[in-house]
């Protein structure tokens, strides 16, 4: 029985890969073949769908826009979360527990609730249809998550490290950047991974806050699909390309995830 355990993850991964296989399969078909009949693999193998997306700026700018605001958001979220997580893990201060729960409660606010007010808020301050607006809006759910994850990692670092550094005469910021941050590098990797992930996959707010200049790829897909009929092949190719940045990020942080989580009490 012990020898059969590998079957569980193997079958699970097959289940995960089937819809992705079907997506890739469709992206290499012509729209006619897709709508014509069921074929388990492409009969007339074509790169036309991908060629169209990679040469048409209304398509590929969607990816660029998405990447811009996701990167801004990830950097911003982790940067503000670091000192806050340090405060939560090391100090007690007036209202700390309430503040922590209030932060988490923002993770629970349904985007559907906030879509319209967000539109009005960012229009009012003149940031509508900019990358920074989406990056700021995504902070609503990413900052609390980053604080939560980082606090766990920081609590895993013994407090003696701080005390020794202060006895040695390190000023706070020098200690924080030179000694403390390297000690929780894995935690920063994990937090950045989750921020990237949740910002990259979110659509409702990103779509609400943009129209042309900063339109994310996910929104480009919904609009083009409705405007020019039902081009399934093109849609499938665009969908397949949205997996690529995520796959890259996973590849780079794969060791951090395994090692990183085990360090803190996360």
């Amino acid at each position: 029985m012990k020898r059969m355990t590998w079957l569980v993850p193997a079958l699970y991964i097959v289940f995960l890969m089937l819809p992705i296989y079907w997506l890739l399969c469709m992206s290499f078909k012509t729209t006619n073949e897709i709508l014509g009949q069921f074929t388990p693999w492409p009969q007339n193998f074509t790169f036309e769908n991908y060629r169209k997306i990679l040469t048409d700026s209304t398509w590929y700018m969607g990816y660029v826009n998405s990447l811009i605001y996701v990167v801004i958001n990830t950097v911003m979220s982790v940067a503000v979360a670091l000192p806050a997580a340090y405060a939560f893990s090391r100090y007690r201060f007036l209202g700390d527990k309430h503040l922590f729960f209030w932060l988490l409660s923002n993770r629970m606010a349904p985007a559907a609730v906030f879509a319209l007010p967000f539109f009005q808020l960012y229009s009012a301050i003149g940031l509508f249809d900019t990358h920074i607006a989406v990056a700021l809006a995504h902070c609503l759910f990413n900052v609390p998550l980053a604080v939560w994850i980082l606090e766990g990692f920081m609590s895993g670092v013994p407090k003696e490290l701080d005390e020794l550094a202060f006895i040695d005469g390190y000023p706070f910021w020098k200690f924080f950047v030179k000694i403390f941050l390297p000690a929780i590098a894995a935690g920063i990797g994990v937090a950045a991974f989750f921020c990237f992930m949740f910002s990259w996959v979110e659509l409702l707010l990103a779509k609400t806050l943009t129209s042309v200049a900063a339109k994310p790829i996910a929104a480009t897909m919904t609009r083009t699909a409705s405007a020019s009929g039902y081009e399934l092949g093109l849609l499938a190719a665009a969908g397949a390309l949205t997996i690529v940045p995520g796959a890259f990020v996973i590849y780079f942080v794969r060791n951090y995830i395994a090692k990183g989580f085990s360090l803190g009490r996360v």
Binding site: T5, S105, N106, F114, V201, T222
Partner: protein
């Protein structure tokens, strides 16, 4: 055990977070509160209505139905994803190349934009030209998720399990890899069964990550919008109209801002209350240690 020192200056460290999140949370929340107590006839004139909308929403059958569907959906999804995720994490190779391969492949669904997830399952499940739908119909099962409520629900749940089980598995795996080998050796010397190892060594070590996993899954499944909207659009009929879908229909479809605002606040409070209960139950007994 709490070795944290009292230091009110720590407020300066949390200030950037408070400003950034507060800006995004408080202004929109107040806008929603504003809508929820007022009536408008469209010409930017608002009249105070008190709690009228709240009473209307609480007593409306439509809200009750959406809430029931939402609770059912979240319960089913949690009941499948948490045990499955833990089982996958337990059976995964602990280290080496295969562990990395598993991690990379399993993370893939997590990094696909939510509307693409809906689109993938839509084309995967189409009864005539989709791989899943075609195979099921070939096997003699009458399956059409655009017309049969049961099929729509099954597809929706399969999609969510496909999308999110990996998150539970990843977090559980992280908790498991934090267990030193010495623990397993000690258990082996004691002749502990694999169930005893799970119950007394692995489960306690996973408790913290599982709390995060269950809370995240609860909140996100309760707020789910994009995936079912793309997959079924809430149909057939209202069969898969979950709370968020209903809310967007009222707010942006009918532009009934008052009821939508009241519904938003009730919705938010339900999530807050249930999350807090989960949090209390799952961290029970942690304060004493």
């Amino acid at each position: 055990m709490s070795a944290r020192t009292v230091n009110q200056k720590a407020w300066w460290l949390v200030l950037p977070v408070v400003v950034l999140v507060g800006f995004n949370a408080i202004v929109p929340l107040m806008t929603v509160v504003n809508y929820s107590v007022q009536e408008t006839f469209g010409n930017n004139k608002f009249f105070f209505e008190g709690v009228k909308w709240f009473e209307m929403v609480i007593h409306s059958a439509r809200f009750h139905d959406a809430l029931k569907r939402q609770l059912l959906f979240t319960a089913i999804v949690l009941a499948i994803e948490v045990p499955l995720g833990v089982a996958v994490a337990l059976a995964m190779p602990r280290r080496g190349v295969w562990a990395s391969v598993c991690l990379v492949l399993m993370s893939m669904p997590l990094l696909i934009p939510w509307n693409v997830v809906g689109a993938i399952w839509n084309i995967f499940a189409l009864p005539d030209i989709g791989m899943l739908g075609w195979t099921l119909n070939r096997a003699g099962i009458d399956y059409n998720f655009t017309r049969q409520p049961v099929a729509a629900w099954a597809t929706l749940i399969a999609m969510d399990v496909w999308h999110w089980t990996s998150l539970v598995a990843l977090l559980a795996y992280a908790g498991l890899s934090a267990i030193p080998d010495a623990y397993y050796q000690a258990a082996k010397i004691d002749g502990a069964s694999s169930w005893a190892v799970f119950r007394h060594v692995q489960l306690p070590k996973m408790k913290h990550v599982l709390t995060i996993a269950v809370l995240l899954r609860f909140m996100d499944s309760f707020m789910i919008y994009t995936e079912p909207f793309v997959l079924t659009g809430g149909g057939p009929g209202n069969a898969t109209t979950l709370l968020s879908i209903d809310l967007v229909k009222i707010a942006l479809g009918q532009f009934d801002l008052g009821p939508a605002g009241a519904m938003s606040l009730i919705y938010f409070l339900i999530i807050l209350l249930l999350s807090w209960m989960f949090y209390r139950v799952m961290t029970l007994g942690e304060d004493e240690s």
